[in-house]
Amino acid sequence: MVKARNIGNELKALVVVCIMILIGQWIGYGIKPWQAIPGIILILVISQVSLIIKAALPRVKFPAFAWASLIALVLSMPFMPTATWFLAQTGQVNFLGTTTCILAFAGISVGAKINTLKKLSWKVFIVAIFVFLGTFFGSAVIAQIVLKIQGLI
């Protein structure tokens, strides 16, 4: 359900995150914050809209992250009249610049799970590494073969 109270809280968090992105990319990539303001506002609005869509459609199991991508995808397709302007503005927001604070939050959030991890056996550690490798290279090998057959690589 869409609730004004939740939107307010989400918006507060999004504003802080966007400010961190502006500061981070200023330091990391030399993009001056005022240059990126229109772009970051667009990103903020789309982010908030995707949260609202997710709350409004609880039966559709599509995460807000995917909604955000989908909206931006549609706005930036080559035949869309919005594409040039939208890409020029959001282009002022660096891709890598948006990742640092996510991973900082992710790292801190893991803190709650460290004690559970200690209870796991060392075997889980080894098995998990092979699960990661198997998933990754299984997909990569098939993709390699199909892309080759299609003549795309």
Binding site: L103, I108, V110, G111, F130, V146, L152, I153
Partner: protein, 284 residues
């Protein structure tokens, strides 16, 4: 499923009465962002290529280190800054802070949409590649002496949809549930670090960066980002296509992942489990 889900995201990001925790958390994360961006991208030359270390990698490591059960245990004042309430809030802020990145991914996929549709067959078929993990990891889990835990631990990369499927089929406190939780937890804690390194090292295998980009979409936005950004920085000439392919593949895994576990992964892992354990009994 996990403890943090006892409270909903809406409750967790409610600022009322928790301003102190929010301000502390935001300041700490801002400092992490500033420090990691000052360090910047580090490229280590290795033979013909290089290993790329991105600020996000340092951010996740610093984040883990400053939690109450790690450095907080040794450095007491740290606990005043980051304790359990802040850790809880951080969990829900991951979802929020992912959204701007989601928008950026959309802007990478959109302009390349024709290119991506052309590569459709590769996208769809490589989803099946996720099943390869069963053939690789299940024998290893059994060799290490795991039993039914192995079925849960190796059925897939064990992100949330798999956790749900196994939880429903066997119960999360069953042996299979213990297994799936183990891999899930490993992924949550070490996944971004592991894939952040793998993304750039994988180029050495000789597989094409586009194929590796598709493989990066394993159904976790943060792991996909870690892997594909490292890959993109390693092969900068192909950057845009790499990121667009990875994002598309990840979206696809998000849609197909759960069905793949139910209809393909679980039957396959159970069949293979029977084959291996029967052989073992026969040998004894």
């Amino acid at each position: 499923m996990s403890d943090s889900q006892a409270k909903t995201t809406a409750e967790l990001i409610e600022t009322k009465g928790k301003w102190g925790s929010f301000i502390k958390l935001y300041l700490v994360v801002l400092v992490i962002v500033i420090v990691t961006e000052i360090i910047g991208i580090i490229k280590i030359k290795v033979g013909p290529g290089s290993i790329v270390l991105l600020p996000m990698l340092y951010a996740v490591v610093i984040g883990i280190l400053i939690t109450p059960d790690v450095l907080g245990k040794v450095i007491r004042p740290l606990r005043k800054l980051i304790s359990m309430p802040e850790v809880e809030i951080a969990g829900s802020l991951v979802m929020i802070s992912l959204l701007p990145l989601g928008v950026k991914y959309g802007t990478l996929v959109g302009p390349n949409i024709v290119k991506i549709v052309t590569a459709g067959p590769a996208f769809l078929l490589q989803e099946l590649g996720n099943l390869f993990t069963i053939f690789l990891a299940l024998p290893i889990a059994l060799l290490l002496g795991m039993q039914r835990e192995a079925v849960g631990a190796t059925v897939s990369i064990c992100r949330e949809p798999t956790l749900g499927v196994i939880g429903e089929r066997y119960g999360i406190s069953s042996a299979e549930g213990t297994g799936v939780l183990g891999t899930y937890l490993m992924g949550t804690i070490f996944g971004t670090i592991f894939f952040g390194l793998l993304g750039s090292v994988a180029v050495f295998t000789g597989l094409h960066p586009y194929a590796l980009a598709m493989a990066s979409g394993i159904g976790s936005a943060s792991m996909m980002t870690a892997s594909s950004s490292a890959l993109a920085e390693t092969v900068p000439a192909m950057k845009d296509t790499i990121l667009a392919y990875a994002a598309t593949s990840n979206m696809l895994t998000g849609v197909t992942g759960m069905y793949s576990v139910i209809f393909l992964g679980l039957p396959l892992v159970n069949w293979l489990y029977k084959v291996f354990t029967r052989k073992k009994q026969g040998a004894e």
